[in-house]
Amino acid sequence: MRFKINIKDLIFGVAIILILISIYLAFIYTPTHTTMGDVQRIFYFHVASAWLSYLAFGVTFVTGIFYLKSKDFKWDKIAFASAEIGIVFCTLAITTGPLWGKAVWGAFWRWEDLKLFITLVLWLIFIAYLALRANAKSKVSKANLSAVFGIIGFICVPLSFAANRIWQQYHPTVIATSEGSLQSSMGMALGISVIAFTFLYIYLLISKVEIDTMREIIEEIKQKVGG
């Protein structure tokens, strides 16, 4: 237990340091974007948040499969924690996306932009996932049903991505080429911020799982003491 806490704090420390480095890189080290100006600097943490939410939902998907195979509640706990963290960062990604969009395109939201669209779909699916868990009647059915739903939801995302591509050909628009003029220093800044957020994710996941485990144990003791 002692050792585990140390690892958790270590990860938190690494995450903080990496975040500070990436803030430095994002604001000072990288040059101002030639066409989009300074506002392009939103990009580094916007993309990192989006990445973190994809990673988190992916973990929910994989641990859902592990749970169904093993019926071990440990996996269910991780799946739930990861989904919640995913929702938080997905929310950050879909609020910062429009802010950037407004500056670059002049509009907050472009329904034609696939990345925005898919991130929104993911957000809806995992909001529904959390609603499912909140409405489950027992611990067993909560774990079973949410694992199944998480798997279905995650599988459908690439399919939805593909389906919406044809829908967009139907309404042709100019695709913003943000990556088109990405310089190598910008790429590195992005890379560092993505790594920083990945460490942040691991820290949050461990904390959340620990809290949920502790809450469960306390509930159990309370029932014993009360009865």
Binding site: A136, L145, F149, L159, A162, I166
Partner: protein, 222 residues
């Protein structure tokens, strides 16, 4: 195969024996189409552009109400364990119910389509293409709807949870492709003009049926 047929026939029998239920579904379709009609009666609109979304949204919401009791009825009547005790696989329960869902939803959709043509005066498109689109779209709708209905029947407030769980998955896969293809059909295209959409919808059908086949065990079992 025999088990699938048995369950399919039983579902259809129960569904049609209770005539009030079917009547309610039909009534709901009329109400949805009528509300679209009234909503669009006070503004200028291009019928060609809104026809396809109206049709599919109507299909989606009226079909959903017929999906909701599929598993809930078994749980409420306490017959679920009777099925699980029988020497059949859970996937035959799924496929039997899928077929009956498919049939009931398809009937509702054809009825809604009729009402739509009554309420909205629009040039009749290539009907064969339209029917084929509706049929393949409904396969996926029933396949995914059936599995989500099995999930939501185990939740509290299952009637609300069914659309909450179904919309983010179904709307952005099958319904969106179907809307795209159907609006092309209304603009005068034929089936071979929308082959790309058709291929996508068929792919979703296969994926959803496979998901149902693989995951139903985990929903119905312990």
């Amino acid at each position: 195969m025999n088990a699938i047929k048995t369950i399919f026939l039983k579902e259809i029998k129960i569904e049609f024996r209770n005539k009030q239920m079917i009547n309610n579904y039909l009534l709901l379709s009329v109400m949805i189409i009528a509300s679209f009609r009234f909503a669009f009666s006070i503004i200028d609109f291009s019928l060609l552009l809104i026809a396809s979304p109206i049709i599919w949204i109507t299909f989606f919401f009226s079909g959903m109400f017929s999906l909701s009791p599929t598993y809930k009825r078994e749980l409420e009547e306490g017959t679920c364990e009777g099925l699980l005790l029988a020497p059949i696989s859970n996937s035959s329960i799924y496929f039997g119910k899928f077929l009956s869902n498919f049939l009931v939803i398809l009937l509702l959709e054809l009825f809604s389509l009729l009402i739509f043509f009554v309420f909205f005066s629009i040039a009749t498109p290539d009907l064969v293409a339209l029917f084929i689109l509706i049929i393949i779209g409904t396969i996926g709708f029933a396949a995914l709807g059936n599995i989500i209905s099995a999930i939501s029947s185990n939740l509290s407030q299952s009637e609300v949870m069914l659309p909450v769980l179904l919309v983010p998955i179904l709307l952005f896969t099958i319904v969106i492709s179907a809307i795209s293809a159907t609006s092309k059909i209304f603009e005068g295209a034929h089936l071979f003009d929308v082959m790309q959409e058709v291929r996508f919808i068929l792919m979703f059908d296969v994926v959803f049926l496979a998901i149902g086949y693989l995951l139903i065990d985990y929903i119905l079992g312990d």
